[in-house]
């Protein structure tokens, strides 16, 4: 059984701030679980220095809409904001594609026979390309993007599980 099977209600949230040193992320996660919900961490970026902010995207699951509202109310003071209530923002790809909107961590070096070899990863950042007419969406590398394609900007309107897919595990990145 998965979180989505137990908990049909969900919302995608973002948090940005001093999440680690201040134990804010721990507090949010504990609050979700204490109030009977569950979560899946979709994206985590930890500031590499103490004066850099960290950010998190997580999907919150709850057994019913009332519990979902209660949990949202409880974690809002910690800076959690719901993301998935509006349509995604689409922009047309230009000849020079914009900064990637889904930056995945890629390895920079690989060690072979005691030597670190740099990984050629230019153009391997991912973006989300959407065809609204065909109702299809595809993760692409920047190299694969064609001019005029619709790219998703930011995290608004993105969910890591969809209502139609309830009952399947949240995707693992």
């Amino acid at each position: 059984m998965t979180s989505a099977q137990h908990f049909p209600e969900s919302a995608t949230l973002c948090l940005e701030g001093h999440l680690i040193d201040s134990l804010t992320l721990a507090k949010v996660i504990d609050t979700i679980q204490q109030l009977g919900g569950d979560y899946h961490l979709n994206h985590l970026s930890i500031g590499s220095r103490k004066n850099q902010l960290s950010s998190v995207i997580l999907t919150l699951f709850a057994p019913d809409s009332e519990k979902l509202s209660k949990i949202l109310e409880a974690i809002t003071p910690y800076g959690a904001k719901a993301l998935s209530v509006q349509d995604a923002i689409l922009t047309a790809a230009q000849k020079n594609p914009p900064t990637p909107i889904l930056p995945f961590s890629l390895p920079s070096h690989v060690r072979v026979n005691g030597e670190w070899i740099p990984v050629q990863s230019e153009g391997m950042e991912f973006v989300l390309a959407v065809n609204p007419q065909a109702k299809t969406a595809q993760l692409k590398t920047l190299k694969e993007v064609q001019p005029g394609e619709h790219l998703v900007e930011g995290f608004q309107g993105i969910q890591w599980t969809t209502p139609e897919l309830q009952g399947t595990p949240p995707c693992k990145i």
Binding site: E16, G17, H18, D21, S22, L23, T24, A26, K27, R49, K50, N51, Q52, L53, P77, Y78, G79
Partner: protein
């Protein structure tokens, strides 16, 4: 005074030709506001009651005692913010802004009763040569009442008055790391009534103003030999609301155990009766703001 309308995330650069206070000689610089219009005419914290008005004449004498202690005994230079009729809490200058070097992040108060103070604070800092930053309408932040620097980091309170999202702005505008602490006790509604960073890394605090997460953050950052916890009784006497200037500390009368603890650590302890301001939920530190 013109154009005092608050704008969202406005950053005013330093005016040309003004020497910022932060660039003055090594004398500590403090901002205070005379209690000309101070009274308790509304209740926005558990200490305030309109049924228990303060003695305004006694309050003026107490403020003058504090002023004299700061200038004559602690050796600081005090700048005065002009009092404004109808803004009784302008006297609590600690809330006006968070100041770091030449940057002042101006307060945006949660309660409308105090929002009228914001443009006066912004104008003062701008006229003194500070780069000033104001917050968006939807984000509340109550200045050095909720953000205090200890060593190289900021301990910042949230929930009762200040929104946690304002802490991100403190970091982006000052470069300082921030530790966000939830304030769980309505009586200790600002972080400057439950912690006080001191010279040489000492740190007065009232542990029960924080939840287990907050206590863990404090214990992880402040070495045990530097932490000076106060009792519930001392906290209620505003022992944490302490002014610290070099090796001198000033706080409300009472809290003799704390006074002894500070003397044994090399501090000169000065105590001033601030009973009338406590009726408004403030004490020594609330009446001052370190600006240089």
């Amino acid at each position: 005074m013109q154009d005092l309308t608050r704008q969202d995330f406005t950053r005013f650069p330093c005016p040309v030709g003004i020497t910022p206070i932060s660039s003055l000689n090594g004398t500590p610089q403090v901002l205070m506001c005379p209690p000309t219009y101070f009274t308790v005419e509304y209740a926005i914290n558990p200490w305030m009651s309109t049924d228990q008005p303060c003695d305004v004449e006694l309050a003026k004498r107490q403020w003058e005692d504090l002023y004299r202690a700061i200038t004559e005994k602690a050796g600081a230079e005090v700048h005065l913010l002009d009092p404004v009729p109808g803004l009784p809490d302008l006297v609590f200058t600690a809330n006006a802004a968070f100041v770091h070097q030449n940057t002042a992040v101006i307060a945006h108060y949660k309660y409308s009763e105090r929002q009228g103070e914001e443009p006066y604070a912004e104008a003062w800092f701008r006229n003194q040569g500070f780069r000033t930053i104001t917050l968006p309408e939807a984000i509340y932040f109550e200045g050095a009442g909720d953000a205090l620097i200890w060593q190289d980091r900021v301990f910042a309170g949230y929930r009762t008055r200040t929104d946690i999202t304002s802490h991100n702005l403190l970091t982006t505008e000052t470069g300082l790391p921030v530790l966000s602490l939830e304030l769980i006790n309505p009586k200790f509604y600002h972080i400057d009534v439950c912690i006080c960073p001191l010279t040489n890394g000492y740190f007065i605090y009232y542990p029960d103003a924080f939840d287990d997460y907050g206590k863990a953050v404090i214990e992880a950052n402040i070495p045990s030999e530097k932490r000076i916890p106060v009792t519930a009784e001392e906290a209620a006497q505003f022992a944490c609301n302490t002014v610290n200037i070099n090796e001198t500390v000033l706080f409300n009368q009472g809290s003799e155990r704390l006074a002894d603890a500070l003397r044994t650590r090399g501090f000169q302890v000065l105590q001033v009766n601030l009973s009338e301001f406590i009726k408004s939920g403030g004490s020594a530190k609330c009446l001052t703001l370190r600006v240089g």
